[in-house]
Symmetry: C2
Subunit: 541 residues, 2 copies
């Protein structure tokens, strides 16, 4: 039976260009490359926000950040928000989670609506539409007895002791004297994490995914399994053999220029001044840390190999579409920045591979599409894959199935958008900006990338003449027209109706066909004669 | 006890300029004028959509149409949408309805969340946050046995017979031979409605309001009573003595020009071609119909007199703020248009009077404010009146209490906005526009009024040199800069976060103060030394 399941693999903080198939000269990702060879790789995919939480909520709803409203970690989507899970449930598909989501529950909203958080509806709402097989948001900064993770308990059962074995074993090394070398600290990125590799997070989550799949054998419902790896997100530390698989010479050159530090955009300047940015601006540190990042990626790749073999063994490879992506990138020192959050490609662009075993996709295997794709395109893609009809008044992305099946849509979007709100960050204080004024919005047409930053100057990059995005034309008088053009595209997008979720376009069109007289409402008729004439027209139509 | 209640009176389709206090030379509105003399009149108040449903949802939430999403009648706000009623409930205030709201229930949304529409929460959600004392949306096109109105039943009890006494008696005349003269037909606007005046809709609703107020005497909770009259909305017909209280010579001159019909904006052209517009473009018809519209207004004014006396009699005049407004205007032939829906002042501007008996408001009695006010300002005004704190991440308007108390805010909005979606209307078909492309958005800074119409040219009026809005500068090459300026204001507004309703600005600011180390998250530290130094800083702060 074809088109039964989707295995949707998401990495965390994986750059678009740290894959063999995407052109990285040194990294080994043979299994992901194999997916690309069997499927379609979308080389121009932007997340809707270059930060975990908001980006993920866009993936999980098919809606822009401005629409779902969860513009930072800890800001819940409102109870009742439309989700991918809700849309799949309507067509009888399970939407299952193994791993990270960053979904927060709208506890107050549920209370106002009298929804018990422990009821099935309450749990679904609290989990962003997912059926949770295993939820693990990855970071366990300190052991929280009220929120124990299954992974920490499992580690303890295996003999990894302490309050927080996630930190002390899976994400730390140890020196010869037995002193902990915390993976939080960048100097320890070259240390071997002191955990047996099969017990580290990526293989653990892979096994959990396989456990779910095995358990679902006898369930008649198809599933969409979101296997959401926590890596290669920091802490940058990895167990052997991955910890020394790559060396400083495997690190690709940094993308930055001295010019970027001369009179930079104020927001860019403040981000360059963040501690993590100063750290990654040191080339020695880059060469020290990035090999661990690469090891984490190859570990994921190996686990994807395990998964592919497993699907073969289960006999469901030919009925399971595999989708591979990430929630955002990582500057790794590019543009004198660490982390993510701004809109350069290192941060806002992600890998995306869709590998559909169905014969309808045979003609597109191994192809690369450079259309502007948005993260929100996945939700409608999945709905269409399972035979549903995505509703554009709710899911603002567009299905990619046409690209997969070799019948690309006649028209495609001309612009991609991404949003970021820095209200929670240090730069807000240093820029003395009110909380409500911290939104920045990116639009690109593939040629230019424009960023609108409230109360601050624009940013603009010419991706054709400056693919490295090293020259900010946002205040260059020679580019007034280009900026205006991009602002118009932004306005066109922003003025769209993003919240008419309770009625579809079709319902509106159907209702509009009924004019007044058909509803016994008579507007603008002077007398019986006029009205009768109109009614005759209605009845003979 | 001061500041106990609010009586919030809303008319339907009342123009801003059909009141004595607003300068109408002939209409008699002594009671409303008395409110203006005792309170503050806001002479520049725009509704957030020049059409009943969407405009009302903005009043009832304090949110723009783009935010609540109910952009047409029959499009429900989503279940759980924040409302004025919800905000008032949190501070112990009843939000009570007598009359019209046009609220539709999100039945499917409630079903998805397992909310019983008959439960207290379900009823509140289905009614947009109102506690319904009496709901009556006014129009009863045909008798619907499944949705009987209390008013029709009451009329029948009084001996007004037939399936639909609302139509046959309250909104029709009768000729000498006993033939019904339906108020739907404009030719009958000068006929006396065949109902005893005290039994017609406006006095009926007034009595219902008084019944609620009497009944609330022994309830300790303060109340906000929304007395929402259905008039002077069509059918344009009124019982004696109001039916011949005004004559053709009382009709103020039409505001239009021949130039408006020469090469008009395509959307404007299509609206001018609507049946109701063609009818009201006939001066004879205007002079025939508008006297009935004026009679309906004076009837409301008389009933407000009854209410004011009643409040005196109840001894609660000194603890009840009275607010008077309308949900939108009526073209009445101005600009060759009937009805409303476009953004000329006749349609998008409404009367607004706030009359607070509290001594704190003594210094502002009888004043007129010409600041740009939006309908969404009322919800936060009411919350503040009752001692609450409006949250701007939810309520997008601003409290007017400062103007009322003689302490106007130091800064005020520079632009007002209004939205309209014509997807349900004839012009969509004639313009061959997809449902999702029918939004038009107005912005005014008081000097210019600009309208962005998706896929169609701009409209622009210079309110200073052309207060009648007769010359559309939207395609005039001499006004490129002005249009650009207004587009920038529109972009600034549209890009704001409109959906972060689950976390307040204060909560964001508070959370932002906790940096990584305070949460045991260590980003960008190289080694123990750096980390320890930072931790020492944190702990000594």
């Amino acid at each position: 039976m074809a088109r039964r399941n989707i295995l949707w693999i998401m990495c965390d903080q994986l750059r678009f260009d740290y894959l063999g198939c995407a052109g990285h000269p040194h990294i080994r990702t043979p299994n992901i490359d194999r997916l690309a060879a069997r499927g379609v790789r979308f080389s121009n995919t932007y997340v809707q926000s270059p930060i975990c939480g908001p980006s993920r909520m866009s993936f999980y709803t098919g809606r822009y950040v401005r629409s779902h409203g969860a513009n930072w970690m800890g800001v819940p989507m409102r109870v009742g928000a439309p989700t991918l899970g809700g849309a799949l449930a309507e067509i009888g598909v399970r939407n299952v989670l193994v791993g990270k989501t960053h979904v927060d529950a709208d506890v107050e909203g549920m209370q106002r609506l009298g929804i018990d958080p422990q009821s099935p509806i309450g749990r679904r709402e609290a989990e962003g539409g997912f059926e949770v097989f295993e939820r693990d948001d990855g970071l366990v900064p300190k052991a929280n007895p009220e929120k124990p993770t299954r992974y920490n308990a499992w580690l303890r059962d295996k003999g990894y002791d302490g309050d927080n074995p996630w930190h002390d074993w899976a994400n730390s090394g140890v020196d010869e004297d037995g002193n902990l070398q915390s993976g939080w600290l960048l100097d320890h990125a070259d240390k071997p994490a002191r955990i047996d590799e099969p017990d580290s997070e990526t293989p653990y989550m892979t096994r959990r995914a396989m456990e779910f799949i095995r358990g679902a054998r006898n369930d008649e419902r198809p599933w969409c399994l979101h296997l959401s790896y926590i890596k290669p997100h920091w802490p940058y530390i990895v167990p052997p053999p991955y910890h020394d698989m790559y060396g400083p010479d495997d690190v690709i050159p940094v993308v930055r220029s001295k010019g970027e530090r001369e009179d930079p955009h104020p927001l860019f300047r403040e981000y360059m001044d963040e501690r993590v940015s100063r750290a990654f601006s040191d080339e020695q540190l880059r060469r020290h840390v990035i090999p661990a990042y690469m090891g984490l990626i190859t570990q994921i790749d190996d686990q994807i190999g395990v998964l592919l073999d497993f699907l073969d063994g289960e006999g469901i490879s030919d009925e399971t579409m595999i989708v591979f992506t990430s929630d955002h990138g990582d500057y790794l020192g590019d543009h004198w920045l660490g982390e993510k959050e701004l809109f350069h490609d290192a941060s806002a662009k992600v890998p995306l591979i869709v590998c559909d075993p169905d014969s309808r996709a045979d003609s597109t295997r191994g192809t690369v599409r450079d259309e502007l794709v948005e993260a929100i395109d996945l939700a409608p893609t999945f709905v269409e894959y399972f035979g549903g009809t995505p509703q554009p008044n709710v899911m603002e992305g567009r299905s990619l199935m046409g690209f997969v099946e070799g019948t690309p849509p006649e028209t495609w979007r001309t612009h991609a958008f991404s949003e970021y709100d820095y209200a929670m960050r240090g730069p807000r204080g240093r820029l003395d900006m009110p909380v409500c004024d911290c939104n920045a919005t990116m639009v690109t047409d593939g040629r230019f990338k424009y960023v609108h930053v409230r109360n601050l100057p624009d940013m603009l990059f010419d991706l054709q003449s400056d693919p490295g995005e090293l020259v900010d034309l946002g205040r260059d008088p020679a580019y007034v027209a280009e900026r205006r053009h991009m602002r118009d595209a932004l306005l066109d997008w922003a003025l769209r109706q993003h919240n008419r979720t309770t009625r579809t376009d079709q319902e509106i069109a159907r209702e509009a066909e009924l004019d007044g007289p058909a509803k016994n409402i008579f507007i603008g008729f002077r007398n019986e004669e006029e009205m009768d004439a109109a009614l005759r027209t209605v009845s003979t139509d």
